[in-house]
């Protein structure tokens, strides 16, 4: 698909990033994103589910078979986990970002 060469969309990257640590359900993904971006990025339900659906269709995430947190007993909750393909994507996307950050530091835009 053509979209892959363009890199991941911002929300897709953030969701994959949130799922990298452990499988999460929708609301937990929102919290994780808010935490990792220090509250700067707040995604809404449409973006969340729209992106999840797209990531599912593209084979980057899949539904986790079992809830990682046994205390969590809400049966409506669906947990998502990364596929190996997503791990590679995330890695290359992060690498791409690092190149940008390094360049920004080299040009004095960011402090090291």
């Amino acid at each position: 698909m053509g979209a892959r060469t363009e890199g991941l969309s911002r929300s897709a990257f953030l969701i994959l990033f949130a799922l990298a640590e452990q499988p999460r359900h929708g609301l937990a993904i929102i919290d994780s994103i808010a935490a990792s971006t220090k509250g700067r990025v707040k995604i809404g339900p449409g973006t969340l589910y729209g992106t999840l659906q797209k990531l599912l269709a593209d084979g980057l995430i899949k539904e986790a078979s079992a809830a990682p947190d046994p205390d969590d007993d809400d049966p409506r909750r669906r947990y998502y986990t990364l596929t190996p393909k997503a791990k590679r994507e995330l890695k290359s996307e992060a690498a791409r970002l690092r190149v940008l950050v390094d360049a920004a530091i080299a040009q004095g835009i960011l402090e090291a």
Partner: protein, 871 residues
């Protein structure tokens, strides 16, 4: 559980609502829960109100951005898949080239014919004048009620309208004329347009060079000026910019005339004439009374053609000279130039073409339907494998699209070809066209019918595939096929086709009968081998009456020596036409009041006129060489109006006090037009020698080819004096062709459409029966096995085909009875519900349907029952 805070409840509800903006598969979670969760997070650091606001902000941005992205992705994907479908469909079409060709041919014919008819309609009747504020321009004319033709008012009426009409800002006039251009190589007569002073500025025409003719140029004592047409300027004067301001020698009495400007080629003021020059005339003293003058007027803002008509009728006295029984009318250019009859003909042909298009679309839909039936198994499998209805629709749409795209290409080709053909045959139809081609509204028309055809062709098989539960097809397998007895949809389509085809056949039948009646009219003279050449002795070259007489005698003598010419005579009246004059009266009658209600044709002719033209003697005698110049011959209609007793009586005219003695009665000649049914009065006066003061028309009878004689006559007249231009020339055939053109045009085009429509409808019948037969193999086999004769099986099938067409045909006849009275004005001596046309159309349709059904029926009767039953 504690009651949920209001703000939290609001955002939860709103988010659930917002979820419906997204496609269904996106709603994998509860939007409300997410919104409530967001609210909780905001609430942790702010008031409930602020938390609600913040959450709403997130939701709003999310909904707008998110739903837009999701839908765009879907659209892009759908279109992308659509492209794949088109490729898929194109491949499917290529796999069955014969079938595809049939569909494309059918639709291409329909699209081509209807686009041509639309283009003709648009160019002649719909399109506004190509001038400034064209919606405020209107033509004015007098409509003669009884004959449905236009005439122009006399100058006095024009002046009255100019002064009194409040709905009109300005009335300008123009008329066709000709000028004689004197150059080094001799004199040449060129077409020109005479205009009133304000016409060109009213139309806001921008001259290519120089200036327009202006009102000042029309004032008494103004120096003679002329505008040259761009084409003439380029071809004859090499676009010489210094021509403007120079003088040319123009006119039969050569007069230095200043060229003031160049008229752009696009300014088609009179759409039936491409003039070489535009001159100023049409002041009171030059305003012609017999000739047609076009009145073009600018309406005041808010005025309509209706309000103009109402006002002009109110301010025009009915006893006004030149008006008579005619009524002032505001017209479009098409109505004026083509006339009521011709306009209706154009509409009729357009309606016929739309009928043909309908048949073509129905036929294509029918063919695709047949194919869908053959593909039921495949489609059933597709549906069973999870193909959605939408997906199936797209597949049908893509297939229809492929066919239509090819058909449109073919249709455009047909249109361009047809327009070329018609243009050479009936130039008035495409008179505003610079060569055939696609332009303007015709393109939109084609796109519109292409869209309709695509939808129709896609909808028919889709509807069909939905109606029959395709999933059952798989269970039942091929067994289902044998129960189909030609689906109701297909039978309805064939009946529709038959109805339209019979309607077209009736229309064309009536037109053809009308045209043949017209061609078989007793004209009253033997026109077919006559040639007419006009000649006059121009004033300055031949100053005395003797000189002019000698010149004309020389011309007459020169014409007599042309091989194959057996006789030469003259007349002051053109062939099969008349110059209307005030009525003469007989001894014992009062002089009729002006203007006469029934105009009389007066012609001055030499002794041999009746011999050469072949006009028959009815009573008394023709002119004899020993007659003196006071004898006259009248026509039968004139004699009948006086109870048949006219011979020996004295006839008086307003022109001279001495009477004429009537010596004979001749047959009526259709001088008022072939389609004229009322016999008009005509008087012939004996002319002893050519009248040098008037325009003389030489009429020759030939045993050879009239066109060859015409060319030879031109050469011989030029031999007498190269400096005198040859005037109007025509053959008897030209006259007939001109007078029958609108009938011929409607008959030929409508017959062509009917033949095409009929052919398409027949292929529809054939297709249906053939499909039916192949689906009913089993049934036919069983019948044969049970003892039915082969003939009986075939007859059953043929009967079903004929029955369909007959039922459709009856609807077609009803349609013809409803539609054709609207075009009665086009018909000559035939009723719009002509029983012969109806009977012949129905018999033709039924017979052809039987023939079309017979081919597959014979196939069915040859089925081997044993083999059919085993499989």
């Amino acid at each position: 559980m504690a009651a949920e805070p209001v703000g939290r409840r609001v955002v939860r509800r709103l988010a659930r609502l917002a979820a419906y903006v997204y496609p269904q598969e996106t709603r994998i979670g509860d939007f409300g829960d997410v919104a409530a969760h967001l609210w909780d997070r905001e609430r942790a650091s702010a008031s409930a109100f602020r938390a609600t606001l913040a959450t709403l902000k997130i939701l709003l941005a999310d909904t707008i951005k998110g739903s837009f992205m999701v839908w765009m992705t879907r659209v892009v994907r759908f279109v992308g898949d659509g492209g794949r479908d088109v490729r898929l469909a194109a491949r499917a079409v290529r796999r069955r080239p014969g079938f595809g060709l049939l569909v494309v041919l059918t639709l291409g014919l329909g699209i081509g014919a209807s686009a041509t008819a639309f283009d003709a309609l648009d160019r002649t009747l719909l399109r506004p004048l190509p001038f400034h504020e064209s919606d405020r321009l209107t033509y004015l004319a007098l409509r003669e009620r009884e004959r449905g033709i236009w005439s122009s008012p006399w100058f006095e009426t024009l002046e009255r309208w100019r002064q009194s009409a409040k709905t009109l800002d300005q009335i300008e006039v123009f008329t066709q004329s000709s000028v004689v251009l004197h150059g080094a190589s001799g004199a040449e007569r060129l077409d020109s347009l005479s205009v009133s002073g304000g016409l060109l500025s009213m139309l806001r025409i921008v001259p290519v060079a120089g200036r327009l003719i202006q009102p000042g140029d029309a004032e008494a004592g103004a120096p003679p000026v002329v505008m040259i047409a761009e084409d003439t300027w380029r071809t004859r004067f090499g676009a010489d910019p210094t021509l403007v301001g120079r003088t040319l020698s123009l006119g039969s009495a050569p007069q230095p005339t200043t060229v003031v400007g160049v008229l752009p080629a696009g300014a088609k003021i009179d759409t039936t004439l491409v003039p070489a020059f535009v001159t100023v005339r049409l002041r009171a003293r030059e305003y012609p009374r017999g000739q047609f003058v076009s009145l073009l007027a600018r309406m005041t803002p808010g005025a309509t053609r209706e309000s103009v008509e109402t006002e002009l009728r109110a301010i025009t006295p009915t006893d006004e000279p030149g008006v008579g029984t005619a009524v002032p009318t505001a017209l479009t250019p098409g109505e004026l130039y083509l006339g009521d009859t011709f306009s209706r003909g154009v509409w009729l042909v357009f309606a016929g073409a739309i009928a043909l298009l309908t048949i073509a679309i129905v036929n294509a839909g029918h063919l695709l339907l047949g194919r869908a039936a053959a593909r039921r198994h495949e489609l059933g499998v597709r549906l069973a494998l999870g193909g959605s209805g939408l997906r199936l629709a797209r597949l049908f749409l893509a297939e229809a699209f492929v066919y239509i795209a090819a058909s449109v290409a073919l249709g455009i080709g047909i249109m361009v070809g047809l327009e070329r053909l018609i243009q050479s045959y009936e130039p008035r139809l495409f008179m505003t066209m610079d060569g055939a081609g696609l332009e303007g509204r015709a393109i939109w028309f084609i796109l519109a019918i292409a869209a309709i055809a695509t939808l129709a062709c896609a909808a028919v098989p889709l509807f069909q595939s939905r109606a029959q539960d395709l999933r059952s097809v798989i269970d039942a397998g091929d067994a289902v096929r044998s129960t189909a007895k030609g689906s109701p949809a297909m039978r309805a389509l064939v009946m529709t086709q038959a109805a339209i085809a019979v309607l077209l056949l009736c229309g064309s039948g009536v037109m053809v009968r009308s045209f043949s009646n017209l061609m078989n009219v007793d004209i009253g003279m033997a026109l077919d081998r006559l040639v007419e050449v006009g000649a006059t002795a121009p004033g300055p070259r031949y100053s005395t009456s003797e000189e002019r007489g000698a010149y004309l005698a020389q011309v007459g003598a020169a014409l007599k020596t042309i091989p194959t010419v057996t006789g030469v005579t003259t007349s002051t009246q053109p062939l099969l036409s008349t110059v209307r004059s005030s009525a003469p009266w007989l001894d014992g009658e009062a002089k009729p009041a002006e203007p006469g209600d029934s105009p009389v044709g007066l012609a001055t002719v030499p002794v041999n006129y009746f011999d050469v033209t072949g006009i028959r003697l009815v009573e008394g005698r023709l002119f004899q060489p020993e007659d003196t110049a006071d004898v006259a011959v009248v026509n039968a209609a004139f004699a009948a109006s006086r109870g048949g007793h006219v011979i020996g009586r004295s006839l008086y005219t307003a022109a001279r006090p001495e009477p004429w003695r009537i010596v004979g009665v001749v047959a009526d000649v259709k001088n008022w037009g072939l389609a004229e049914t009322a016999a008009r009065h005509q008087v012939y006066f004996l002319q002893l020698r050519l009248n040098p003061g008037v325009f003389n028309r030489f009429v020759m009878r030939t045993t050879g080819n009239p066109s060859v004689v015409l060319n030879e006559a031109r050469r011989r007249i030029a031999d007498v004096d190269r400096m005198v231009p040859v005037m109007t020339t025509q053959t008897g055939e030209d006259v007939i062709r001109r007078q029958t053109s609108q009938h011929r045009f409607a008959a030929v085009l409508l017959s062509g459409l009917a033949a095409l429509g009929f052919g398409l409808a027949l292929s529809g019948v054939y297709g249906l029966i053939a499909l039916n037969v192949s689906q009913r193999r089993r049934e036919s086999g069983i019948r044969l096995a049970l003892g039915a004769t082969r003939h009986g099986v075939a007859a059953t099938i043929v009967r079903s085909g004929v029955l369909l067409v007959a039922i459709g045909g009856v609807f077609g006849v009803i349609g013809a009875w409803l539609v054709l009275p609207y075009v009665e004005v086009l018909l000559f001596n035939v009723s719009p519900s002509d029983p012969w046309s109806v009977v012949i159309s129905l018999m033709l349709a039924a017979g052809a349907a039987a023939a079309a059904a017979w081919i597959p029926a014979r196939r069915a009767s040859r089925i081997d029952p044993a083999r059919t039953l085993r499989t």
